[in-house]
Assembly symmetry: C2
Homo-oligomer: 502 residues x 2
Amino acid sequence: MAEKITPRAKDYPQWYLDVVQEAGLADNSDVRGCMVIKPTGYALWEKMQRGLDKLFKDTGHVNAYFPLFIPMSYLAKEEEMAEGFAKECAVVTHYRLKAEKGQPLHVDPTAKLEEPLIVRPTSETIIWKTYKNWIQSYRDLPLLINQWANVVRWEMRTRLFLRTAEFLWQEGHTAHATAKEAEEETLRMVRVYQQFAEEFMAMPVLVGPKSDGQKFPGAVYTLCIEALMQDGKALQAGTSHFLGQNFAKAFDVTFTNVDNKIEHAWATSWGVSTRLIGGLIMTHSDDNGLVVPPRLAPTHVVICPLGRNDAERGPSIAAAEKLAKELREIPRDDFYGYEPISVKIDTMFDKQPGYRYAEYELRGVPVRVEIGPKDIEKAACAVARRDVPGKEGKQFGVPLTGAAAHIDALLRDIQKSLFEKAKKHREATTRTANSYDEFKQMIEQPGFVLAHWDGTRATEDKIQEETKATIRCIPFDGDPTPGACMVTGAPSAKRVVFARAY
Amino acid sequence: MAEKITPRAKDYPQWYLDVVQEAGLADNSDVRGCMVIKPTGYALWEKMQRGLDKLFKDTGHVNAYFPLFIPMSYLAKEEEMAEGFAKECAVVTHYRLKAEKGQPLHVDPTAKLEEPLIVRPTSETIIWKTYKNWIQSYRDLPLLINQWANVVRWEMRTRLFLRTAEFLWQEGHTAHATAKEAEEETLRMVRVYQQFAEEFMAMPVLVGPKSDGQKFPGAVYTLCIEALMQDGKALQAGTSHFLGQNFAKAFDVTFTNVDNKIEHAWATSWGVSTRLIGGLIMTHSDDNGLVVPPRLAPTHVVICPLGRNDAERGPSIAAAEKLAKELREIPRDDFYGYEPISVKIDTMFDKQPGYRYAEYELRGVPVRVEIGPKDIEKAACAVARRDVPGKEGKQFGVPLTGAAAHIDALLRDIQKSLFEKAKKHREATTRTANSYDEFKQMIEQPGFVLAHWDGTRATEDKIQEETKATIRCIPFDGDPTPGACMVTGAPSAKRVVFARAY
């Protein structure tokens, strides 16, 4: 299988595309910038949705659905947002085609909309227009709503999952009676994203505000989770915005507060998208293909019965079926999202065992079990963990009695190991620069660089122009020692995180 | 609460809108024809999605996601489809706005697309364009894929859930090596819809083909499930289409068959939408508000502790919490979608009990438990079933010990009763016409009318024009006796089902 995938050391971007292609995750479509999410990729997204949705509901949120189309005038109401998204809007201008005999199908010029409709790039405007009808009193607050939806941001240079014109995401939109509550919510949700990234995706993240230059158009400030990919580039994986009263003022959403005074409501919004699938791939996968943490794996275990003929295969298949049954009967718990362990029995007997193993390595199934005639003699099986390829990750002679419990424990161990490995990688490639010269050298290496910055947009822009690095976040948990900006020497409250980014 | 809802007998369409509004299911948005699905409505849709998705997966299907936009030329490739959908297409013509200081936000005329993009009204074309890359050999077949998505069909006269410009749905698109397999799939999926309608929605349906005049544009034939609403009008609730080789030919999707010959693939497609929520409302709800079958209820049980003061309320609340815990601990099974029973404890002590009860009746919670000081004395509670309003549906003195098991059994009974009641209603309002005169009288009454028809489009059109009734389906399970068309006297293979419809 290795020949299907370009090694990471040779060409990382090509390796990424090869994994996406060969593991059956997504395809480019003929429609500019839009991808087709293939069944395996979509199964990953469904697992992510389930995990996130439960975390949202556990923190008091409910789902709803708002229109795909946004009148252009709504977007215009919040100036920063209009400027931020104007260049990437898909615009609906007509509502009818004409199909006449003898003529090609064409847009009916008489069916022009009075006001163009934008295909939502994000839904703050249409949602706050709606909230105006829902919010009158402090008793209506907080309003804690999430939406699962598709959005469109016209992109000229796209890359599967990481940057596409249409993508799937969730967007939370909450309304609060006080700035304090809204700020608490902004923080709560970025911590929920951190929890999801670390506990489900096994992807360690830094958490903190973005610099002003990197914040969301329309936000007072943006908090983010920021991950480090294997190639040492950063990936913004999720954002949570404190929107102040900007949207409440744009759409005149007021309420009577406890003191019986009229006030504008306070807002947050927060989102993660199918981009996470790109982050997952670039955190764990290897030159053999996809690696998926068990909590998100559509298939947890593949069992490959072996044998040269029916006489040999019969007992192998019977043992495989028995083990599959035992695995599926392991009590449902939170680790598996209260679903049974997902087991597949492979029966590609017309292929060589090596081909069969490689196929499931490519697709990232966390655990592979092999049961052949010699195993049957010993009432045992071989168990291979996907995160440790080759002999090192393969145990022979695992007794079939107790194998299900053994595999259950192994799956939980893989989840932990993947996180630890990714965290070690991040720690090993995080450096501290004490001068701009040092910074310029370090930023040529993969990884995060911690450095002092004077807090101005001008300095941030200069650094980006000269080094292609951006400020990824001002980490909550970083070293709190103040210092002097590496570029201007002006005071810096604490070091911030720089990197080149996706 | 009754005053919030117009009685059905007075004005059925207004009653429907009142229930949608007062139960918090949906709102009209300011965007023409697009609705906002509110949290309670969306929770219902999520329950439906879960149930359907499991039935799809149990029959071997997987989910995927295809682009929102369809190039106009794709739609043009299948002539019937182009004609069928041309009049209701939202068309994207530009990909950028311009936000310049001092000017209003406007469409950038230089950013015009070379080819207009249609917002998908249904995805056969884009999917079969994609399948061309996925299908080469009979080994690639069958391809059994479903998509959960939003679609847009521009509608001038809309009604919440029943007919909206944007709606949510699922669309299955399968490819097969033989016509036989594709026809079996078409039938399998309409039976899955029947199972979902009857077992989850408690909504009895007729199953059978549509007449040619009512089939899907591009289909060879369409099978449907057809339900009867309380007001005696029919609702098409789901359709499954045998598409023959129409789309494979339009997009040149060929494969090498077992005999090593090149052949076009065979197709089906099938879908249900948020329209089902409208059907659910009009099957079960009453003048007190929404009625939801337990298998789809976002909240199964509401417990109302009662008491005039803290001293009285304390023991009531403690008993409520104990019962809630016991209910949540009932083992997860298929009836509850392997989720815990969903219990809410109501604490609106500042409202009268009657107000509190009415509120949950409005929202359709299947079971309400009342626990007051007198109940506590007897270690008992009162249990009210939503499907039987008033005293008749309320049991007093249910011992708290064992109440959880009692309520579990009651929920299962409500599910069955709702189905039986709806089925009786359909049977009571289904009539058989033996002449066109008789038919014209009967069709003025609510309900289905069974009558002989000669199978021609001309007769079907004439009947529709003269009576506003359409052929809802040619039922698989109907009386198989042949006869003579009530209009032309020409031979009729069997009676078909007529009704006025939504």
